[in-house]
């Protein structure tokens, strides 16, 4: 199997989901390091070089807001989803659910088709 091709397709598939995961996780205020740990714990591993630029982009788009605060004697930048970000997240989740249902329907249809052709060939 072509591992590189699979990896590229997997990354492509994950890209959109990462935005959803980040927005959803930031319904509660987090700073970058803890956010990444939360995502890793929930099976959405993301490396730092992807997460921080993504946070910055989402903030520029107005979906997140951030502020620097001191915690444990260190300055940290805390992010939280904005009202607009919350709305967009809801719409994206609806879209994602609809796509999930559609994909399942397509897969189910194909399973039936495969089973039919197998029983016919028998």
């Amino acid at each position: 199997m072509n591992t590189e091709l699979f990896e590229n397709l997997r990354l492509e598939l994950r890209r959109g989901c990462l935005v959803l995961a980040v927005l959803a996780a930031l319904r509660q205020e987090q700073y970058g390091y803890t956010l990444r740990k939360i995502l890793v714990e929930r099976g959405m591993a993301i490396d730092e070089s992807t997460l921080y630029p993504l946070l910055r982009r989402l903030e520029t788009q107005g979906l997140l807001s951030s502020q620097w605060r001191e915690q444990d004697k260190r300055n940290k930048r805390f992010y939280i989803v904005t009202a607009e970000g919350e709305q967009i997240l809801e719409r994206l989740l609806t879209e994602w659910n609809s796509m999930d249902l559609s994909l399942r329907a397509v897969l189910k249809e194909q399973d039936h088709g495969t089973n039919r052709s197998l029983s016919t060939s028998r």
Binding site: Y31, G32, Y33, D47, E48, S49, T50, Y52, P53, R56, W68, R74, N75, K76, R77
Partner: protein, 326 residues
């Protein structure tokens, strides 16, 4: 930790000025948090090698900084296929003739080998100009999206590779008829050509060239007439064209090597000087022989390619249309 600070400094170098401080501060916090976590896990300070491993996992400074920058490209995926096509056209229609002509000039002794060096300049200027134009178009396209404004009705009609344009067939017929008239009236096997004060005596072998060229021009006229009546290439017509072109080309190559001018005289020029001029004409004609041969080969290859194309079954683009129309 000096190593971390050096890493941050290297990342900072590539970042946009307004965001440098902010990004580096956040990145620094994240790296130190990771180091502290490792310190707690190990129960000691991480070694230099372990810090190195943390930094290596994050990626090279330029790549890390690149993630924060807007995605930029000189020529994007929308225009790139057109850009590549134009480059190919420039290479085929401009650079290739340039190479052939300059090589021909060098081989025939009309130019020194240093002219070949100018090919690189021509190639860089051509490729650079095309790239510059497309880089500008890319910026215009990003703003105006002019490629998205299109109309299916304006698409070119379906192309039949075997069909000849009627206008070109008529043009070819007219050119051939003019050539036949001119050749048969003005060049009628004249052993001596007289133009006012200029008198040129040709070798007797000229008779062969006269009839040979007349025959090929007449055959070409017949082929052009056939193309006007039935404007499609067929394998038979293409073979006929190949034979005519080869005959004409062989005659031409023979002509340039045949020392065709035997005497030359102009009023006011001494006979010795006139003899020198006659020799010079023959010599110059002989020198274009390699170029003539190269030209002949190109023509023959083009004709042969046409025959191969005609004999190769072409995939039908109209299959789907037929299914809808039938």
């Amino acid at each position: 930790m000096e190593l971390i600070d050096r890493y941050l400094q290297a990342v900072e170098f590539w970042l946009p000025k307004q965001q440098k401080h902010d990004i580096v501060a956040e990145l620094s916090g994240d790296i130190y948090a990771q180091v502290e976590e490792q310190e707690i896990a190990l129960g000691r300070k991480p070694t230099q090698a372990e810090v190195e491993a943390i930094l290596r996992r994050r990626g090279s400074p330029v790549l890390v900084a690149n993630r924060y920058l807007p995605q930029e490209h000189l020529i994007g995926p929308v225009l790139f296929p057109i850009y590549r096509f134009v480059l190919k056209v420039v290479a085929l229609c401009y650079l290739l003739p340039w190479i052939l002509v300059s090589t021909g000039l060098v081989l025939s002794g009309h130019a020194s080998a240093s002219i070949l060096g100018s090919w690189w300049t021509a190639a860089f200027v051509a490729a650079g100009t095309v790239t510059l134009v497309f880089a500008i178009l890319e910026r215009v396209q990003a703003r105006s999206h002019f490629l998205e404004n299109w109309n299916p009705r304006r698409l070119p009609p379906l192309r039949d590779v075997n069909r000849r344009r009627l206008s070109s067939s008529y043009l070819e017929l007219a050119a051939n008829l003019t050539a036949v008239l001119w050749w048969s009236t003005k060049m009628y096997s004249p052993i001596t050509l007289d133009y006012m004060d200029l008198h040129i005596r040709l070798a007797p072998v000229w008779t062969w060239f006269f009839w040979g060229f007349l025959l090929t021009t007449l055959l070409n006229t017949a082929l052009s007439a056939a193309n006007v009546m039935h404007p499609f290439w067929t394998p038979r017509k293409a073979t006929f064209r190949l034979l005519i072109d080869c005959t004409g080309a062989v005659l031409f190559c023979w002509l340039v090597k045949a020392n065709i001018v035997t005497a030359f005289s102009v009023t006011g020029v001494s006979s010795q000087r006139a003899a020198e001029i006659a020799n010079a004409i023959n010599l110059h004609l002989a020198q274009i022989f390699p170029g003539a041969v190269a030209f002949v080969i190109i023509i023959a290859l083009c004709d042969a390619y046409r025959i191969v194309q005609l004999k190769t079954p072409q995939p039908r683009l109209t299959g789907v249309t037929d299914a809808y129309t039938n």
